[in-house]
Each structure stands twice: as C-alpha cells, then as structure tokens.
Amino acid sequence: MLSRTAGNLYWLGRYVERADATSRLLGMGARMTLVPGASSRDDWQSVLDAAGVQRPETSVSGRPEALQALLLNPDSGSSIHSCMQLARFNGRAERTALTSAMWDALNDNWRRFDGMDYRAASRALPDHIDFAQRWAGAFRGAMDTTMLRNDRYGFIRLGSHVERAAMTLRLLEVKYLVLLPERDVIGGGRDLYQWTSLLLASSGLRAYHHLYKGDFAPWNIADLLALNRTFPRSVAFCLHEVNTTLAGLAEAYGQSHPCHEMSAALDTKLSTATMNDIFADGLFEWVSETLHDVLSLSNLIRDAYGF
C-alpha cells in the first residue's frame, strides 16, 4: 500500500473519532452551564482546553467562542465541521480503499455546517451533537460490517484509537483536580455535576454504575477512564487496541519498527498500573506523561509507514 494511502486512512480514523469526541465535549459544556452558578465558572474554557484549542491570551472563552471553535470553524481541524470535511477529504482521496457503505456514511449531509452562523448553531445544539455522533457511529458501523480486515482496516483503526486515547487523556488533564482523592483537595469542595459531566463526556455514566456501584468516587472515575480494560474509551483499552493492530501489521508485512516496541511497552505499562501507584506519583504527572507518550507513538507510527 502507498504510504500516502496509509496516512490518509490513519487521519480519516482520527478525524472521525475527533468529531465524535468533540461532540461529547460540547454536550458536557452545554450541560455544565445548565447548573446554577455556571457564569462564575470557566466551564466553556475547560471544554476548549480539553479539545486542545489554544487559549486566547487575555479573555476567557464562553459559549459563542466554544461553538465557533468546536462546531463551526471550517478550517481549524478541531471543530466538528472541519473534522467532518477532513475525514471526508481523506476518504475521498482513498475512495477506492473504502467500501461504498463507508463512503455513503462519510458523505451523509457532509455540508450541514457550511455557512451556519452562531445563532443557528446554538439554537439547535443538541441536534447538532446528536447528528455528529450518529454520523461517526454510522461510519464505524459501516466499517465494522463491510470492510475487509486487512492493512487498510488496520490504519483506520490505529488512527481512531490513537485519537480516542489522546482525547480521554486531555479530558483527564483538564479535569484532574476534581478527581484527586479527598485528602488532596485543592481549593475546596467539588460538585457532583463535575463528575457526572466528566462521565457524560466520555459516555461512561452507565458503565460507571455497572462497574463500581454506589456513590461516585473520584478514585473510581479515574480508574474507569484511565485503566479499565473493558471500557472502550479508557486509555488502557485504546492503547491495547493500538498494540494489537500494530502487531497485526507487523505480522502481515513481516516488518517490525520502533513504534511496535513502544506500543508494546505502553500496553504493558497500562495493564500493570494501579490507581494507587498513579495517585502516589501524581495523577497530573501520569496523565501528562502518558499523553506525551501517545503523541510520540503517533509520530513513530508515521515514521515507520512513511507518511
């Protein structure tokens, strides 16, 4: 396969995933601001931080800026609009590598956000969020049911899991304060709404109740998002998928690269870690270090396959 094809498929996977994750972040922001006292908190700013959008130097961003950056901006690579365009563009460049069902899914209503203004976006925000999730879901479903399990499949899958791991890690990075154990409280009490919105942003509210029962405990929430091996948005789950996919490619090509070594090491690290160790060393430090590792791994994957 051409390296460029591999690159396009990898980024296709990343952009679909990013559109999906960004829609969850927007949902989290919209929900948090419904709680009394929202205006005094930097809820939208935290949403933008979690999406990795550069902070303006002087002002703190509110809802209009957040919707502009995460929904409407046609060029940023962060907004749902531009993620959809970029995913489709990458897919179109590899039109013949996709099944027609996948292409249909990418094509569905792809110009929905063209020229949309803030008012139209804000008025129907829940619809837009639903749409983005259905759009990403339709693509994944089509991929799951129609695509050959070959190297092409592998590169899309690599992209989507690298992106998902990074998104979850950024969410943890932004919200780590509310996940510190009680004794480490920085600056006073935390609200239930912070925990539930965090779980909503990662579609983990139900999963949490299934797995941990009882009251919310920040310890458990961190465990779900970081280490749980059954929760598909956890860092450990995503990196395990990345490792399995890379191992498959190494076998198919009969070639192994530095990315394989690093991915295997990361997978091991996450499967043996416990929340005790992580909190002992510092949650924030662990999250930052792992995020850094994921981005390095992404670069190694690109080096290995030449895109």
Partner: protein, 467 residues
Amino acid sequence: MGPPGAVRPPYELVAQWIEDTGMALLDLRAKEAEALFRRVGITFAVYGEGGDPERLIPFDLVPRVFGRSEWDRLDRGIRQRASALNAFLYDVYHRREFLRAGHMPEDLVLQNPAFLPQMIGFDPPARVYSHVVGIDLVRMGGDDFAVLEDNCRTPSGVSYMLENREIMMRMFPDLFSKGGIRPVDTYAEDLRRTLEDVAPPACKGQPLLAVLTPGPYNSAYYEHSFLADQIGAELIEARDLFVRDGRVWRRTTRGPQVVDVIYRRIDDDFLDPLTFRPDSLLGIPGLMHAYLSGGVTICSAPGSGIADDKAVYTYVPEMIRFYLGEEPILPNVQTYRLSDTDDCAYVLENLEHLVVKEVDGSGGYGMLIGPKATVQEREAYRKRIEADPAGFIAQPTLDLSTTPTLCGGAIGPRHVDFRPYCLVGKQIRLTPGGLTRVALREGSLVVNSSQGGGVKDTWVLTDDSLC
C-alpha cells in the same frame, strides 16, 4: 437529425424505445440516473466558483447512435489520424523531415512552448508519444464527419464513456439484451495492454503501472481513480515518488517499490522540477533523467502537447499524406490561420460569422463565438488578435449536427460532438464508442462540461439498424 420527421436508420431502435417507454417514465429514470451518478461519486470538481464544489455532469438518457458502416469509416479515420500524429511527434524530435520538406513553418514547432528540446533524439518505447489520442469529431451533415481538434497529451472523459454505459445497462437492460450494441468495457483491458506494451528497457518482469494524478482537488480526480482501479494500477501523486539509481520508486508501507510505467494526468510543467520549473514544489526531481535513460516510461511522452496546438492541427491532413501516403479519411474543419496575413484580414472582417480560438487554449475557455458575441466583446477580441495574430485560429460557425435529447420533459434537438479514445502501443486499439458531449442549452454550440455541457451514452451497432 436529418430531414424533419424522418428517423435515421441507426436511431430506429431508440425511437421505438422512447415511444414504448413514454416521457413520464423516462423523466423518472433520468432522476434515478442522476442519483446513481451522485452515489457512485462520479463528479467533477469545480473549486473557487462557490456552490457545490463537486458537480455532476448532466447525463442525457437518449443515446447517440452510430450504425455499423458509419462506424467502420470513423474507425479507419481515427486510427489513421492517431498513427500520423505519433509519426509527426517522432519526426519533430528527430530529423524533422516534415519541416524540411517545407510542409509546415519551422517556428511553429521550434518556438512552440509545448516543444521540449530535452526530448530531441530520444526514442520512447515502441516510438509512441501519445498513447491515448482523443480526437474531437463533429458531423457536418449527411455522413460527413470532420475533426475539430486533437488531444494527444491527456484527453479526459473516458470514464464517462464507461460509466454512462454501466448506468444505461442497469436502467434499460432490455435494450441491450438483443446483443446489437457493441460493448465498451474492453477499454480498460486495452489501456492496460497499451501501457504494458511500452514498459521501459529497465523493466524485466510484469510492469508495474501507475496513474499519476495532481490530487483530489483536480477536476478530473474521479476519472484518475476510476482508471487506476479499472486497470489495476496504483493511483499516485508526485509526492509518493522519488528517483534513485535511475529508477522511479513509490513510498509504500513496506518500503520503496519500483514503478515502471506512469500514465500521467498532469502537465509537462509539473513532471520534474529539475527540468521544467525550478521554482515548483510539484513534480518528481530526476524523473526526466530516469525517463531518458530508460528507467521508466511516461505516457504520454513529455512534449506530446505540441500536437494539440490548434495551429499545428491545421497541418494534420498533410501529415497523413506525408507519413502514411494515404488520403485523410476524416478531414479537418475549415480553419483560418491568423499567422497568414490574408487569412487574418479575412477573419478580422468577418468576426461576426466565425469562431476564433487561442492556439493553445482548451476546455472551451478563451474563445470567441462571433455570432453570439456582443459588439463590445468582438472589438475587445479584435484587439487581442491584432496584438498577436499567430496566437489564434478561426473556424466558420459550424452547422453542427443535433441529436435527440431529453430536455424539460420533451425530446428536442441539441448540438453534439464526439470524442473517441484511440490507444496506441505496439498496436492500435480502438473501443467502439466514445464520449458524446451535448450542449444542453437550446441553440448552444459549446459542449464543454465546464460550460454547461452534458454527456450521453454512445452506441455503436453491430449492424446499420437494429429494427
């Protein structure tokens, strides 16, 4: 169409079919066809004009039909012309016998921007320069066809020939079930063989073919990916390739792999920045060196574009006599060379009756259609001609033939032209069919897709009539 009310024999089946199907159902089918095209992604891209950047070329359900004897003559004429054009290209880059014999002014070749001095003395594999020759034809009334222009560099549109037929077969299987319409799907196989015919000397085994595209933003990107798919070639961009040890390699997930034959759909200027445009970031550095030393074949050969020049076109009938010793089967449309002072004076006096074209123009841009232009437009164009007469040719407005076309719920006459695609490798291969373009606006003569033209399926019958 011929005399009012009369159906020419090849169209009898179509007339019968339209009557049996009825306009209401035809209209419905037309909408279904459009949905199919959209779904398959058969679009051409128009960026920078606003609106939908991916547009459909309107597809007309009523086919254009050639009877057997009509086609047999066209077939001979097309092959003849494709051979002569390739012989001319070889000659231009070797002994220039045609020029020495005084058949054509030397400057027209040597001063032409499409002429590439780097190609002088080089023998491309099988001595073929233009491997896909697209010849634009019009019917002049009766059974007389004439050539409007030649496209030796990278004629586009062949994917429509194939897709239009697929859609027609899918929507109207009954029409095809009698077996009287010759298939066109041999084209892909023939193109593959043609490209394999011209593998470079360095290639020892099965040649690896690649289609070189400028990328997804190009208007014909769909066609590039379609063709790559059809002939089992890799669809590549310049940035996928590099040159090492006199050969061309593509970057793959398994490391570098060699490419033998490049069917390029980009212009000469963007092939190799070392040779053509040192300022360009596009292209593959060293490609020309690899080509000239036999490490790779480029199709069409760099420098083939000289045969597309509209002033050179006027000499093609003479080329046929000179190289092949035959009389041209397909004449040119009468053409005035504005480099000739008498012709130029005549044209300037008769602008309102003539079509004037830039010699290196294409796509229907930059031409003056005298009878349709305003006085101001004609005067503006006159100034351009006076500034550089040799940059233009003129042709009478043609009494182009029309064919029946579905428009606004009725069948009406619309002007058409026709582009067959002649493949030249170790032998010449011609698919019975081609691209029929139709000017969908009533009375319009411009069939280019960039200017509101549409396309039709083109049938070549196994007989002169199927009824």
